[in-house]
């Protein structure tokens, strides 16, 4: 079998050279903010954002990803793909140990796959095309797929497919295993202490397999529930790192103007948070395509970008974020044009029926955004009623399709097969999840395109398919795309090399150092 070897060591070396242009210094403690407090740190069992942000230091995946989403070595040092795109062979690093000094081997990889299929809904979906996992030796893992699956090399970051220690979890009840409270991984930092409600403390892994890493001695993750208090904690120097989303947007310009403060929007390329308005395609005015198109013209998305998000966003052109694979902007575009919106509403036969708008209850920024959109819609004559909810209420209403228009944002995971298709294909129409085809859009052509796109091989075929899908969707406007969001990471400028990969702070502080 002829193999197409995709070794990324050169890429990794190039990145390392760039990143280490300054000579890193060893030692020091970083204080960061984590919000909300994670329910647990065992990332195989708990998949929320704060869990990954802390646990990304403790656990690792087989691969990491560059900001351009190219795979980089993680626990796997090299990998190859068979010519038919169905067999992926990973060579693992040698000399890697778990935090309890037991060796990390291919048996752990095979076990992790079984584990995550049971506990991790996203991994379960990503592994749907996996036929079998073989471990011919301790450092080789062979994944055989039922059919080619284009994004397969994109599913191995630490949050999507973390490696779980077989010797600790095999034969136990995963959810009640006591190690869940003192997690054991292979990562650069080890769990030390968690004072609930106050802080989580991680310490350097002295046996980390990359010589000289990590540079830092300790990381403290502080739990500060109030956004204003988090901003003050940074302002007064009590914390050094505010990961994306830690403070309200209107505080960002003020904080970034402080002395010795640096900010970056990088580190979200893999997740590519994409915001839109769910439009209920089943009933009411939003069931009418012309009404939905009118909404796109009625909303001033540049205002939201510049004022609500302080420029830390990009106007979305369609279902895919510009940072993920196969994105195109050669689609129908919808510039702010209230007159055109009014004309379309007339064509749609809209008679002033009440439309319920559900803001996302994630704080002041989202509330202000909803108010701006409400104003835009009222300006073109749409009768809008804002419905207030808290997070559980929002989840319930959206999952039960009990809304007309609802704000949301979702991650896209680097590939349309992983994070875009789920929101538009008919098989994903089912109550009980706020992440699937909540709007109820159904188009057999789109279903076929996304089915073909996931399994087409090689990449050039996939590209054609997804370009076509984006064109159809932007014509149909099943949802009203708003902004590609950027969650700025704010740090003291002496915190160096913190964001180096496509998942930024979520990939841990492995390469970070303090310029004392």
């Amino acid at each position: 079998m002829l193999k197409r070897v995709v070794l990324s060591l050169l890429v990794a070396n190039a990145l390392s050279t760039a990143a280490f242009a300054e000579e890193p210094k060893s030692g020091g403690v970083i204080n960061a903010v984590i919000q909300p407090e994670p329910p647990g740190l065992m990332v195989g069992l708990v998949q929320n954002g704060p869990t990954q942000m802390v646990a990304g230091n403790i656990y690792e995946g087989l691969l990491r990803y560059s900001p351009k989403l190219e795979p980089l070595p993680g626990l796997a040092e090299s990998w190859s793909v068979s010519e038919d795109g169905k067999i992926y062979t990973f060579k693992l690093r040698k000399g890697v140990t778990w935090h309890d000094n037991k060796p990390f081997t291919s048996a752990d990889v095979a076990f992790s796959i079984d584990f995550l299929k049971q506990t991790h809904p996203r991994a379960r979906g990503n592994l749907a095309q996996l036929d079998k996992v073989e471990t011919p030796d301790d450092y080789t893992v062979v994944f055989t797929l039922k059919q080619p699956f284009g994004p397969f090399l994109g599913i191995f970051e630490v949050g999507s497919l973390p490696m779980i220690p077989k010797h600790i979890y095999e034969g136990t009840d995963y959810k009640t295993n006591p190690t869940n409270n003192t997690p054991i991984g292979t990562g650069p930092f080890m769990f030390k202490e968690w004072q609930k409600g106050s802080f989580i403390r991680l310490v350097k892994n002295p046996n980390y397999y990359i010589k000289g890493l990590p540079h830092l001695d300790e990381i403290y993750w502080h739990v500060i529930p109030d956004a204003a208090a988090r901003a003050v904690a940074f302002e007064t120097g009590k914390v050094d790192v505010l990961p994306g989303g830690s403070v309200e947007n209107f505080d960002v310009p003020r904080l970034t103007k402080l002395k010795n403060v640096c900010v970056t929007g990088a580190g979200w390329e893999f997740f590519s948070p994409h915001s839109w308005l769910w439009l209920n395609n089943r009933q009411g005015p939003t069931a009418n395509k012309k009404f939905r198109q009118a909404l796109m013209y009625a909303i001033d998305r540049n205002f939201a970008k510049d004022v609500i998000w302080n420029g830390l966003a990009k106007v979305a052109t369609g279902p895919s974020a510009s940072t993920i694979k196969y994105y195109t902007d050669k689609v129908t575009t919808y510039d702010y044009d209230p007159a055109k919106a009014k004309a379309l509403l007339k064509e749609a036969g809209y008679k002033g029926e009440k439309v319920r708008l559900l803001p996302l209850p994630y704080g002041e920024t989202w509330q202000r955004w909803a108010e701006a959109v409400k104003q835009n819609l009222q300006d073109v004559g749409i009768n809008v009623e804002m419905i207030a909810t808290d997070v559980p209420g929002w989840n319930q209403k959206v999952s039960d399709w009990d809304y007309d228009i609802a704000f949301t944002y979702l991650y896209q995971y680097g590939d349309p097969a992983l994070g875009v298709g789920r929101n538009y294909i008919s098989s994903q129409i089912s109550k009980g999840s706020p992440f699937n085809n909540v709007e109820g859009y159904s188009n057999p052509e789109i279903d076929q395109l996304f089915a073909d796109g996931a399994t087409a091989f090689p990449d050039s075929k996939r590209e054609d398919i997804y370009l076509k899908a984006q064109k159809i969707l932007t014509d149909d406007v099943p949802v009203a795309w708003q902004l590609e969001l950027q969650f700025p990471t704010i740090t003291r400028c002496n915190v160096k090399n913190l964001v180096t990969t496509a998942i930024g702070v979520n990939d841990g502080f492995r390469d970070a150092w303090l310029d004392k």
């Binding site: 979906g125 869940n180 609930k196 106050s198 739990v223 009980g432 992440f435």
Partner: protein
């Protein structure tokens, strides 16, 4: 007196169980459940995931069965398991209770002592500039929202002056021990305890002033004065003691809410107490944890109501226990 206490305790158990049943029903009427919240936080979920969670938490059972199981647990002093925190509720509450008690008891003592002191001074010097100043300040503290006072205090004492820490219970990573630790916790306590205490201090001051001015007009005060007693003795022994009954009532009510009443203060100052635990449990629909905190708060209210009744007897011997 023992019969009175026994009777009140028996009534308290019945009231507590009624509160549990009421709260249990009320929280389940709110939209969303813990399985939906946890699925929401996962960033991706499917029906299998949600169903697994509901089975695990027993939420797939009919409501009366869930209520029966919960009440059965309460009777055996088992507050259940927190869905989200993956820990027994009793353990979680026990972990957070000391921090809350430290904060609220400090705030309570500050507010009570200063409130009575300022109220007494205002009454003693009624109509003077001192009375006016105290009354105006009390009115300001009474009318200002707690979260605003908290944020302004942080801005002034933490950001501008850098005198006091703005968040937390202690300096994380400093590893102070002994007296240094006490001082460190004390420094962290000043802002939240004072902020929390200001409102109640204002209440006590106003109440004490009004009550003392009322008592001062009574004949027995005139008699005491006619007997030639010193003014300080009259104020302390005759006026203040008789004026304290409404203050005791108010303090009793406040003391009952000590455990659960610090939600805002604990949130703004990142104080790791029960108020925050309750707030987070509500947002996450962590039913068992929320109900557990409610049970503890309700028990505290009932206990302090009883204690208040007993203190009445001590303050005013004319009050008798009706058994």
């Amino acid at each position: 007196m023992l019969a009175f206490i026994a009777q009140r305790l028996a009534k308290a158990v019945v009231v507590l169980l009624a509160i549990v049943a009421f709260n249990f029903t009320l929280i389940r009427m709110a939209p969303g459940d813990p399985a939906m919240v946890m699925a929401g936080e996962a960033g991706a979920s499917d029906q299998i995931f949600v169903t697994q969670l509901r089975e695990k938490f027993g939420l797939d059972q009919p409501l009366p069965v869930q209520l029966y199981r919960y009440v059965k647990g309460i009777v055996t002093l088992d507050l259940g398991f927190s869905f989200r925190q993956q820990m027994p509720v009793a353990k979680l509450i026990a972990e957070r209770l000391p921090a809350t008690l430290l904060l609220t008891v400090t705030a309570f003592v500050i507010s009570l002592l200063l409130g009575i002191l300022f109220g007494t001074l205002a009454a003693r010097f009624a109509g003077t500039w001192a009375d006016t100043a105290i009354t105006i300040l009390a009115l300001i503290f009474y009318a200002t929202p707690l979260f605003w006072v908290a944020l302004m205090a942080i801005l002034l004492f933490s950001v501008s002056m850098d005198w006091l820490p703005s968040f937390g219970y202690e300096t994380v990573g400093a590893n102070y021990t002994g007296f240094a630790h006490v001082l460190d916790v004390g420094a962290h306590l000043i802002l939240p305890a004072t902020t929390m205490g200001l409102f109640f201090m204002a209440t006590y001051a106003r109440m004490t002033r009004a009550s003392m001015l009322e008592v001062k007009r009574h004949d027995f005060v005139k008699t005491a004065r006619a007997k030639g007693l010193r003014d300080a003795v009259i104020q302390r022994r005759h006026v203040l003691r008789n004026a304290l009954l409404p203050v005791v009532t108010l303090a009793g009510l406040q003391a009952g809410t000590l455990v659960g009443g610090a939600v805002l203060t604990e949130t703004v100052f990142a104080w790791p107490g029960i108020g925050r635990l309750m707030y987070e449990a509500l947002l996450q629909r962590d039913y068992n944890l929320l109900l557990g905190v409610f049970v503890v708060c309700s028990a505290m209210v009932l206990a302090f109501n009883l204690i208040t009744d007993l203190i009445y007897r001590a303050v005013d011997p004319r009050i008798e226990f009706a058994s």
